[in-house]
Every structure is written in structure tokens, then in C-alpha cells.
């Protein structure tokens, strides 16, 4: 850069983007969350062409490009496919969660895809791929993914 900027200390302009969003959940996620909230049941959608059961449920099968019209109940129990343990309090971690936070990718019995959620009631060093876990539902359920509190070892 040329000499004209010598001795000039670059300034910082502090700002923040703060835009409230209302994500309309849509028919499919609404049905999933209402069943979860009111009946403590985990449900998925099924593709009639390839028979795959999707969790989280969605309207369209990504492989067949067809509409998933059938709903099926999915077990509260499943298998840990992989996991990680956050050791730093990353900014995205909700304020009620303190590290170490364990997240698992969990394939519930009856689903063909895995869901992400917390693992708890276990020490981080004891978590293994392939371990069996079970959903613990929240006392107060509001129709969000955190109506499942976490998964614990079976």
C-alpha cells in the first residue's frame, strides 16, 4: 500500500446482524413435532419406491425424487454411528449446555437415516461407536428438537 496511509491506524466498525426469523415448520415437521410433544413418540416418513424411512422426516425422498406419503413409528432406541465431544465452549452451543458437550449421530431402530442429538448420563471417554442408546424426553415439551432431552446408554 502506498505511503499515504503511513501512520494511519485501521479502524474497526463494530456491528451485528440481528434479524428475527419465524421458520414455518411446514406440514411434515409440524406433524413430527406435535406427535413428539403430545405423545412422546418419534416418527418418520417412508418412501414407497425404495422403502427407506427418513428421520428427521421430510416430504421428498432424496434418492427417488418421489413424495413420502407414509408415516411410521420409530423406536426410542438406537445405535451410535459416530460422535464428538466439544471441549471448547463454541459460540453455537446453547447457553444451557456446558462443555464437555457430546453429540451423537444416532440411527434409531426402524429408521434408515441417522439423527443428530446429545448423548448424556455417560462420561465422554466411555462413548463408543456402536453403543446402544435410548431417548430421554424433556419434562416440558414445546414442539422442538429439544423435546428429546438427550440419549442415554441403554
Amino acid at each position: 500500500m502506498s505511503d499515504q496511509f503511513q501512520g494511519i491506524e485501521p479502524m474497526v466498525y463494530k456491528s451485528k446482524i440481528n434479524v428475527p426469523y419465524s421458520w414455518w415448520a411446514g406440514d411434515t415437521a409440524s406433524k413430527f413435532y406435535i406427535t413428539l410433544r403430545d405423545e412422546k413418540k418419534i416418527t418418520g416418513t417412508k418412501c414407497a419406491a425404495c422403502n427407506k424411512v427418513f428421520l428427521p422426516p421430510r416430504k421428498v425422498c432424496p434418492s427417488c425424487f418421489t413424495e413420502n406419503k407414509e408415516w411410521v413409528n420409530i423406536s426410542n432406541e438406537g445405535t451410535v454411528i459416530t460422535f464428538t465431544v466439544a471441549r471448547c465452549q463454541f459460540a453455537a452451543i446453547p447457553s444451557d449446555k456446558k462443555v464437555p458437550v457430546i453429540w451423537g449421530m444416532i440411527k434409531l431402530d426402524g429408521a434408515d437415516t441417522a439423527m443428530l442429538h446429545y448423548l448424556d448420563e455417560i462420561k465422554p471417554e466411555n462413548v463408543t461407536i456402536g453403543m446402544r442408546v435410548k431417548a430421554v424426553f424433556s419434562e416440558e415439551r414445546k414442539g422442538t428438537i429439544r423435546d428429546i432431552s438427550y440419549f442415554k446408554p441403554v
Binding site: T82, T84, A91, W103, T113, R146
Partner: protein, 381 residues
């Protein structure tokens, strides 16, 4: 089919925080470097493609903010969100469309200006997943665990990627983090998200890169000997992280196969001389090598130990230092492309590899590499 070539490359230095330059200032520097490199003026450029991310930039239509400084005034300018290689793919198709002879492609990002954990958390589905608080680091840590489990790749082998790439960066004046480190240093660095240590992760950096792509009818009219695009492919996988076998990268395997076929490559292990891969995390370099057929399944770690991927090895990978040594998100793939173009020309400087006739560039976007773009570049048409 008509052919296209890369005839100019220009980049800024990759830095932790570019306090003296705005997005547009970075674009100005990279674009002028590319024009000088090509022996062109802005009047020789027919159209412009800029690559950026609105979330990273903190504004909507982030690409338009760099148009003026990229010489796009009164030209057809279009935008791509994703890795810079996706912008280059689009730029190339514009040259091949018959509408334009030359396309200037830029990519920019500044990691220093926001909070990467919050930005990458927003890549998760807002209705089902975002509230759990995962981000790119924790998602990739899950992928690393899954890959290690399937392939028996060790933490030491992953650490060796960091040692190699930070060491390579010592010869690259553009790199953000050139470092002479040991496997022990990596393994003893802070655990960020198991199994990833701090030195298994790339920094989030600032930078802008530009490449100039030309239709074959214009490719030889300027200063540089063209570097030809022989093959290219782009493939995407399912959006939901849990839909994929994340120990694999199906979309990368598909993209690489298509790119090899287009380039007439039958044995990529033998025919690729040099490659720049998307090593945002150490395990990724090894995983992408296997998924592209540049190493046998579960073997990349062992080949790395043998020195195969060193600058003087059988297949030098990330001779520039890779993204572990400086990771301007979005611009990243164009930096890799610029490095491979200059390897093939033989003018890359201190990290020049011995044989560089055919090179490979990989770019990706999305959690754990949801989508991938593979370019095969060659000295010969």
C-alpha cells in the same frame, strides 16, 4: 467439444485479519494480480463471476459489493455462493457457451470479521437441527471419528498431514501459518472436539483469489501459456448429515470419476502429478485421497508415512501448505487452482514439484463435504 483454459491467476496473501483492506480492496488486489499475470487489461475481460457467502460477509448480495473493484461495471456479472471452484466451473461454462471469450472469476472471504461457529451452525437445518448447537468443527469431528473407525487411520497419521502441510507452507510466501512442527506438537495441542486437536484444524483466514478463464479461441492471445481444463465435474450429496455415510464422500468419488473420464485418465494414481485438496482438517486430506482413488481404501495414512505425498514424493499433495496453513473459506478452491496452475507452468517458486504436467484441484462446500468439485488441469491441450 470446445475447450477452455486458465490464462491468469492472482491472489492476495492469506492472513489472519486484513485490517487494511475491505472486501473490495482485496478483490482489487487479486484481480489486478491476475490481469498482470495474464498480460491483460480489464477491457480484455468479457464477463465476471464472483464467489462469496452472504453469511460470512454479513450482507445480502455480497458479491455485488466487490463488482466495482473487480472491473465488472457495465459487464455481465454473475454470482456463485459456495467454493471458488464452483465459480470457476460456472466461469468455464460461460466461456464454452459461445457468449464470452474470457471470464474473470473471483472468490473472497474474511473469517476474521465474524464468528465462524455461528456462521457454520447456520448450515444446519433450522427446523430440525440448528438448535442443537453443532457447527463445522463438531460436524467434521464426527466425520473424522467415523473415518478413523472405518479405516483404522491413527491420530499420528492425521498429525503427519498437519506437519507436512504447515512445513510446505514455509516455502509459500502467501501462506497464513507456515510452521515447523512435530507430530508431538499436534497431538499435544489443545483438544478442540474429539478427535480433532487444534493443529488438526485449519485457521479461518482472510483472502481473495482470482483466475481468468478463456475459450480456446482466445486462450493463446495473451502473455501466459494456457493451462488447459481437461476434465471437471461437480456432484452433491444429501443435505441432511445423517442421511450420508459420513465416513465416505460419495459425491467426491462420483465427481472425480467423471472428471477423470472427461480428461481421458485411466489410472489417476499414476497420471496425476500434483494435487491441491481441501484439507480444512487433517483427516480430510487422507479421506479425499481415498475417495478420489488417489490412494487405496484405508491406505492414505500408510502412504503418507512412506512420504508419498511430500513435495518430493510420488504424488505431492498440498505442496502450497494447503488450507491447514491458511483457509479463506469460499476463496479456498481458487487458491488451490492458482497453485496448481502455477505448478504446471513451472513458476510457483519455492514449492515447485519436479513433474507437474497434470494437476488436480478439489473444492468443496457444506457440512463434511456435502458437495465437491474436481478439476483436472493439464499443460497440453
Amino acid at each position: 467439444m470446445d475447450r477452455a483454459a486458465i490464462i491468469g491467476v492472482g491472489t492476495t496473501k492469506i492472513e489472519k485479519s486484513k485490517i487494511g483492506e475491505t472486501f473490495a480492496d482485496m478483490a482489487w488486489e487479486a484481480v489486478n494480480n491476475a490481469l498482470n499475470n495474464a498480460g491483460m487489461t480489464i477491457d480484455d475481460i468479457d464477463n465476471v463471476v464472483t464467489t462469496s457467502s452472504d453469511f460470512w460477509d454479513g450482507r445480502t448480495i455480497s458479491c455485488m459489493a466487490v463488482g466495482d473493484a473487480s472491473g465488472a461495471a457495465h459487464k455481465n456479472v454473475s454470482c456463485v455462493e459456495g467454493d471458488g471452484t464452483y465459480g470457476a466451473f460456472y466461469g468455464m461454462t460461460r466461456c464454452l457457451s459461445g457468449s464470452y471469450k474470457t471470464t474473470l472469476v473471483t472468490g473472497h472471504s474474511k473469517g476474521s470479521q465474524s464468528v465462524s461457529s455461528l456462521i457454520t451452525n447456520s448450515a444446519f437445518d433450522p427446523i430440525y437441527e440448528r438448535a442443537l448447537g453443532m457447527d463445522m468443527v463438531t460436524a467434521c469431528a464426527m466425520q473424522a471419528r467415523s473415518y478413523m473407525h472405518r479405516t483404522k487411520t491413527t491420530p499420528e497419521q492425521m498429525a503427519m498431514v498437519s506437519v507436512k502441510n504447515h512445513g510446505n507452507a514455509l516455502k509459500n510466501p502467501l501462506a497464513h501459518l507456515p510452521m515447523k512442527i512435530t507430530v508431538k506438537d499436534v497431538l499435544e495441542s489443545e483438544m478442540i472436539a474429539d478427535p480433532l486437536h487444534k493443529l488438526d484444524c485449519s485457521p479461518v483466514s482472510d483472502g481473495c483469489a482470482a483466475v481468468i478463464i478463456a475459450h480456446e479461441s482466445a486462450a493463446t492471445k495473451f502473455k501466459q501459456k494456457p493451462v488447459w481444463i481437461k476434465g471437471v465435474s461437480f456432484c452433491a450429496d444429501s443435505f441432511f448429515f445423517g442421511d450420508r455415510d459420513i465416513s465416505r464422500a460419495k459425491s467426491l468419488t462420483k465427481a472425480a470419476k467423471k472428471a477423470y473420464a472427461m480428461a481421458g485418465i485411466h489410472d489417476p494414481k499414476k497420471e496425476i502429478d500434483v494435487a491441491e485438496l481441501y484439507d480444512a482438517f487433517t483427516y480430510q486430506e487422507l479421506m479425499w485421497l481415498e475417495e478420489m482413488g488417489l490412494a487405496d481404501d484405508s491406505m492414505a495414512g500408510k502412504l503418507l508415512e512412506k512420504g508419498d505425498f511430500n513435495i518430493d514424493g510420488r504424488l505431492p499433495i498440498n505442496a502450497s501448505g494447503g488450507l491447514l496453513s491458511g483457509h479463506p473459506v469460499i476463496a479456498a478452491g481458487l487458491y488451490s487452482m492458482a497453485a496448481v496452475v502455477r505448478q504446471i507452468r513451472g513458476d510457483v517458486g519455492g514449492f515447485q514439484v519436479k513433474k507437474a504436467k497434470t494437476g488436480l484441484v478439489q473444492g468443496l462446500n457444506g457440512l463434511g463435504g456435502q458437495s465437491h468439485c474436481v478439476f483436472i488441469l493439464d499443460k497440453d491441450k
